[in-house]
């Protein structure tokens, strides 16, 4: 074998191309993961890096912690509600965007924009949008008489305090996160819908199926693998996300109304300095996400085989 053909040999080219990724994963994913694992069984704090194994004490502590329980619940609500809304909205958007119409490029551009904007920056925009005094949403509500007068539908106070009331803060956080995930879901679903042969849908139409019959009997079953992938990605992004929560509410309003695991881990481990507990909290992601991935990939595989 001549040297100049070296790159055409699979057993050389493949490792060569994989090499940068392997390095990246080891340094930025593998190493922190191992460190989190090691720290979670120790008493390490930011101020005192002396290492002493304390067994599973950290885990027992956090499981018993009310704040942790609340955050865990919030995380599941945040994830489940966000994904449900994203799936429904992105299906509608995909349905619209696979058609041809005037100004399609503008709609597509607007929908994809959240994905191109840095998350923190977009969220800061929403922070102003949902401001407790200057929120433009409140102006609009007030000018329609829905807010601020004694008999108004949304109450007599002059502002909604979107991020200041426990329930409403959760709604706000979820909606901003939905805004951010929507492009991903839409793009994946558009790809999935385009891959369904048009003749199959036309056959169903001739066979007598109306829109909803086609949707539930033909489109959705055929989209199932694609929806599975969307759910997997959305779950990963949501479950581990702290940007939206941190920028909007920092887990507040008290008591920890919108605290999620990721923000709690940051709060305890970095801000509170208790690296060991922070690590123990973040390790909770691992079994949950591994479980979600296994279930979804299993379902997708089954759907593809049949």
């Amino acid at each position: 074998m001549k040297e100049r053909y070296l790159l055409e040999r699979e057993n050389i080219l493949a490792p060569l191309l994989l090499f940068p990724v392997v390095i990246y994963v080891i340094l930025l994913v593998g190493f922190p993961f191992v460190m989190a694992f090691v720290y979670s069984f120790s008493n390490v704090t930011v101020g005192n890096p002396d290492y002493k194994i304390v067994g599973i004490r950290n885990f027992i502590d956090i499981i018993g912690d009310k704040v942790f329980q609340k955050s865990l619940g919030n995380t599941f609500i945040f994830t489940f509600v966000s994904i449900s809304i994203v799936l429904i909205l992105s299906h509608i958007l995909a349905e619209v965007l696979i058609r041809e119409f005037r100004g399609k490029w503008l709609v597509r551009f607007l929908i994809l924009m959240p994905w191109t904007a840095p998350i923190a920056l977009g969220t800061i925009g929403y922070l102003w949008f949902l401001d407790s005094v200057f929120s433009p949403i409140d102006w609009i509500l007030r000018s329609f008489g829905l807010l601020g007068s004694p008999d108004a539908l949304l109450g007599p106070m002059s502002n909604m305090y979107w991020l200041g009331r426990p329930g409403l803060a959760m709604v706000s956080v979820i909606l901003v996160h939905v805004w951010r995930l929507l492009p991903l879901g839409t793009v994946i679903l558009i790809a999935g819908m385009n891959s369904i042969p048009r003749e199959i849908l036309e056959a169903a139409q001739v066979d007598g199926a109306g829109y909803f019959r086609r949707l539930f009997n033909i489109t959705l079953p055929l989209l199932f693998p694609v929806i599975g992938v969307t759910v997997l990605f959305a779950a990963l992004f949501t479950f581990t996300d702290m940007t939206v929560v941190w920028v909007l509410t920092m887990g507040g309003p008290p008591p920890h109304s919108t605290q999620v695991l990721a923000s709690l881990a940051f709060l305890k481990g970095i801000q509170g300095g208790d690296l060991a507990q922070g690590a123990a909290i973040s390790l909770f992601f691992f079994p949950v996400l591994a479980g979600v991935a296994a279930i979804v990939l299993g379902l997708v595989k089954k759907a593809v085989v049949t």
């Binding site: 042969p197 003749e199 199959i200 036309e202 056959a203 169903a204 139409q205 001739v206 066979d207 007598g208 199926a209 109306g210 019959r213 009997n217 033909i218 079953p221 055929l222 759907a303 049949t306």
Partner: protein, 333 residues
């Protein structure tokens, strides 16, 4: 009685005139083949009948009812698609049952009807399988069974045999005809394959550029083409044309034979320069020129022919067709 009636049907896609004014009557129980080259508008015409496209102009009448505004499902039609369009996630049974399930029939009668349709097409043993587990020919039968299970008034088929390999296609064609006769469903069959159209159709509508150029029995289409397009499109190889004075003379390759082999007296004799001989087993195709016009002879009788030599060939006068030089339309002589 006309089951399907089209009156002045036009369909424009922007500036493209896919269907440009068609009047057509399809009789009860008839097998009508829509034949044309690709882009001739035949598939669009079928989709208009199905209701998958709405016409720009004109009326579509099915069973005496104007159906322009009626959705596909309420038109009493069924369709077999080129790709069969089976639902990949449903078993063969559920595929065939789907139109009935949509109709809201009870399980008993659904089962009975599915078994009837499956029996008709000899696919009873496949009902438990998935579409990915059956062959192309079987898929096509499933698609037909699914179309027939509701006993449609009109069966529309869009090139249903074109995805089969050549060997299966022959048997499939024969079966299709037998079984259409048996159940007597009015059928519109789109194809670009003239052998299919000739073999299957009670009548053939030859389409080009969105217009029906001729409609008639296979014999009429083949022997009495009304213009040079039909004459040149139908027949493999197509009709030979030579210009003479102000007319175009057309004759089929199989009528263009060595003079010695023809017993008739009324002949047109032509000097044929042979360029190439293709031996196809039961017959030979002889390519050559008369003057400088290219013509083909289809010779199934033994006769020694050598390439690059001249022969005396003739056509019986009764086999000659005349066409107007300007408009290309048939003229009687």
């Amino acid at each position: 009685m006309a089951v399907v009636e089209l009156i002045g049907i036009k369909k424009y896609f922007g500036h493209v005139k896919a269907v440009d004014g068609i009047d057509l009557e399809i009789k009860d129980g008839e097998f009508l083949a829509l034949l044309g080259p690709s882009g001739s508008g035949k598939t669009t015409l079928m989709r208009l009948i199905a209701g998958l496209e709405s016409s720009t102009e004109g009326k579509i009448i099915i069973n005496g009812e104007i159906v322009n505004e009626v959705p596909p499902r309420a038109r009493g039609i069924a369709m077999v698609f080129q790709s069969y369009a089976l639902y990949p996630h449903k078993t063969i049974f559920k595929n065939i049952a789907f139109p009935l399930v949509v109709e809201g029939l009870n399980k008993e009668s659904i089962k009975k009807k599915v078994l009837w349709a499956a029996g008709l097409l000899g696919i009873g043993h496949l009902l438990g399988r998935m579409p990915s587990q059956v062959s192309g020919g079987e898929k096509q039968r499933v698609a037909i069974a699914r179309a027939l299970v509701r006993r449609p008034k009109v069966l529309l088929m869009d090139e249903p045999l074109s995805n089969l390999d050549a060997k299966v296609r022959h048997t499939a064609r024969e079966e299709l005809k037998l079984f259409q006769r048996e159940i007597g469903v009015t059928t519109v069959y789109v194809t670009h394959d003239q052998a299919e159209a000739m073999g299957l159709g009670d009548r053939i509508a030859v389409m080009n550029e969105g217009i029906i150029r001729q409609i008639g029995t296979p014999e009429e289409i083949y022997h009495e083409p009304v213009n040079t397009f039909v004459a040149g499109f139908v027949g493999i190889p197509p009709m030979n044309f030579i210009e003479q004075d102000s007319v175009i003379i057309g004759f089929r390759p199989e009528t263009f034979l060595p003079t010695e082999l023809i017993t008739d007296k009324d002949l047109m004799k032509l000097r044929f320069r042979v360029e190439r001989v293709e031996n196809l087993g039961s017959y030979r195709l002889i390519y050559g020129t008369i003057g400088d016009v290219k013509v083909i002879s289809n010779l199934s009788l033994p006769y020694p022919i050598k390439e690059r030599e001249e022969y005396d060939f003739s056509v019986r006068l009764q086999d000659i067709r005349y066409f107007d030089k300007e408009k290309g339309v048939s003229i009687k002589k």
